[in-house]
Amino acid sequence: MPLGPRLAGTLADLMHPHRDAQAFWSQIDDDFREGLAGDADRATRAAQFKAETLARYGVGSTDELPVSWSGLTLDASERYGYRIFDQRFAELHAARDRERATMRLAAVVSPLVALQSVSAGLAGTDEAHQREFARQAEAHRRIVVDQLNDDLIQHGAGKTFAQYSADETLWQATPVFRHRAPSVSALARWWVVDALVLVCWLGLGLAALAIAGRRLAREVSP
């Protein structure tokens, strides 16, 4: 890999601290255990949820609930997880966006950096496309998980996990994932600045060509 793009990565290295994947996932574990900023810890959240649920159904214990308590707790845990993942991945993506902006600075010394961005963006192989795919896949996963939990809530009352069994209608109702590829214009904001940088480089090249042409013309003229 030539120097320009590598310099871009190094600039990002120097200006933004490396993220440690294990620390990131430990943070998510802590979020579940301790709660997000302003939220109570897991035990308190569980107690609150139990009290709210009993009050909502007007019963004295979870055994008296007309729906599955296991299903409700699973559902509540998943929904809290959605909040955690949304927040932490938004932070991660914001950090990557900052790195990307820093890497773009290297386009001043090498057009290759901008060329790679535009090329990958148009080919659909850049991070924007990957992120869009992940967003759709995660949205689909949440639909499926919510359906599964909802079925357990509705049909699992008074049953252990071993006794509960979903029937065919649930699986037939589960949607099939279909990826909708984004249009070129939808993600153009990711590489439009790089395209402008390339135009600037083209302008510089043409200017250099014009100067060289004029000098040559002066040299050969009698």
């Binding site: 890999m1 030539p2 120097l3 793009p5 590598r6 310099l7 871009a8 990565g9 190094t10 990002a12 290295d13 120097l14 490396h18 993220r19 440690d20 994947a21 294990q22 620390a23 990131f24 996932w25 430990s26 991660l92 990557r96 790195e99 990307r100 890497m103 950096v113 790679q116 961005s117 850049d126 991070e127 990957q130």
Partner: protein, 452 residues
């Protein structure tokens, strides 16, 4: 001879190009050294942070185990709830050659039910765009930038004198072609090596103080020198041809582009074409089918209705263990095929790398640093063996249908890294042989010029 060397040095010092070369070398090496120092610090911090968290978790788990709140059901569940973390050692010279250390996993937790092909999870968070562009390390400077600087200093080492018509006069003053070229070589090659040496010394000084690091750094620098000697031999050979300095520069830069920029992706593409990478998704799907089959087979053989609570938990744990072991056995060949394919790719890359000495030098540098493919392959095999030992240790209690004890917990195996594979220096030997060959060829041509 010394007077000749000093005279050439004085002439060299008057050239602005020398200052530019020195400045570029120093700035690039300094940037690489800073980047390398930050990288090895990141690896060290991430490793120690992970192991500290794991030790705290293990300590807390052990405290629960000995507390009054711990029940027999907890003991029955313990094979599943207990975990052991491990981390690879930080590569010895990851600050010199980042190599594969920014893409390979190096830390994991082992627990019941883990498969060897899924041992490392969620280990990569780096920006893919940044990973794609690579990191600026000292190895990159040594293999890519330094040869260019050497070409800038040496493209006209003799052809420029020939262009000016002063070659014969200089030869007469120097007392022979050999003395002239030796004086010029002695002044130019170290000028390019100097920034690399300073950066290497700085990294040794500020980096982790580990046994063998200084010797490895010295070896690393020796291989770098061998790589640059190859380029100097090429420069001398091109200068020995009857070409102008401009043509020599063009030929040398084209050779550099071919060997440094074009050859590596071509070799990798050839290896991928010869041995297409297996589909990871297919491997995952195979694993799912194997899991379903193992689960169905076990449950068919072990109906579990009407058993008391404690025995039921033991049965669930035993079921999970048996299914996991059956799954590991059935997924083994699939994982092996995956590994074999990657190894076959690597073999092709290693063989074709002989076409490009800079590739062999780069591989040797990564080998010395412990960031090459072979080092990570050895660690991967060791981590799988560790998983198998861990599973076997768990299985002893489960097979006897007894409760998991604190002694069982404490006796669970810990990861021991394998000895570092010795780097291969055959490629470096080949590079030096080529350097000698080109040097000999060049000397023959220069001898003819001197006689003429």
């Amino acid at each position: 001879m010394m007077r000749l060397v000093l005279h050439d040095l004085r002439l060299l010092a008057r050239q602005r190009l020398v200052l530019v070369v020195l400045a570029v070398g120093l700035v690039a090496s300094a940037l690489a050294a800073v980047n390398g120092a930050r990288w090895i610090d990141h690896l060290t911090q991430a490793r120690s942070g992970f192991l500290e968290r794991a030790a705290a978790d293990e300590s807390a788990y052990r405290a629960r185990f000995v507390s009054d709140a711990w029940t027999d059901v907890d003991s029955a569940n313990a094979p599943f709830t207990t975990r052991r973390a491990f981390a690879y050692p930080v590569p010895l010279l990851a600050d010199f050659s980042v190599g594969r250390s920014d893409v390979e996993p190096s830390m994991a937790r082992v627990r019941m039910g883990y498969r060897s092909d899924m041992l490392f999870r969620n280990y990569q968070l780096d920006n893919p765009e940044r990973l794609l562009r690579g990191r600026l390390d000292l190895a990159f400077i040594a293999v890519v930038v330094a040869p260019l600087l050497l070409i800038a200093l040496g493209y006209g080492v003799f052809s420029a004198d020939r262009d000016r018509g002063t070659a014969q006069l200089l030869l007469a003053q120097a007392g022979g072609m050999g003395r002239l070229l030796l004086a010029r070589s002695v002044n130019r090659v170290p000028l390019v090596l100097l920034p690399l040496a300073l950066a290497a010394l700085a990294l040794v000084a500020v980096g982790p103080q580990e046994d063998g690091r200084i010797a490895a750094a010295a070896l690393w620098f020796a291989v770098t020198t061998a790589g640059l000697l190859f380029w100097w031999a090429v420069i001398l050979l091109v200068n020995a041809m009857r070409v102008s300095a401009e043509t020599a520069a063009l030929v040398l830069v084209a050779t550099w582009a071919l060997l440094v920029l074009v050859a590596p992706p071509l070799v990798n593409a050839a290896a991928r074409a010869a041995h297409p990478p297996p589909s990871r998704m297919a491997q995952i799907i195979d694993g799912r089918f194997a899991e379903q089959a193992a689960t169905a087979a076990y449950r068919n053989d072990h109906p579990s209705d009407g058993t008391p609570e404690l025995q039921r938990v033991k049965d669930v744990i035993a079921e999970y263990q048996r299914i996991s072991m059956a799954l590991e056995a059935s997924i083994g060949p699939v994982a092996q095929r995956f590994d074999d394919q990657l190894q076959a790719q690597q073999t092709v890359v290693s063989r074709l790398a002989w076409l490009s000495p800079p590739m062999t030098v780069s591989a040797a540098l990564a080998g010395i640093a412990g960031t090459d493919t072979a080092s990570y392959h050895a660690l991967r095999i060791a981590s799988r063996q560790h998983l198998h030992r861990y599973t076997a240790a768990l299985d002893r209690g489960i097979a006897d249908n007894r409760l998991f004890t604190l002694a069982d917990h404490d006796a669970l195996p810990r990861f021991a890294p394998p000895p570092r594979p010795l780097p291969h220096f055959i490629g470096v030997g080949w590079t030096l042989l080529l350097a000698l060959l080109f040097g000999w060829w060049a000397s023959r041509r220069y001898a003819a010029v001197a006689v003429g």
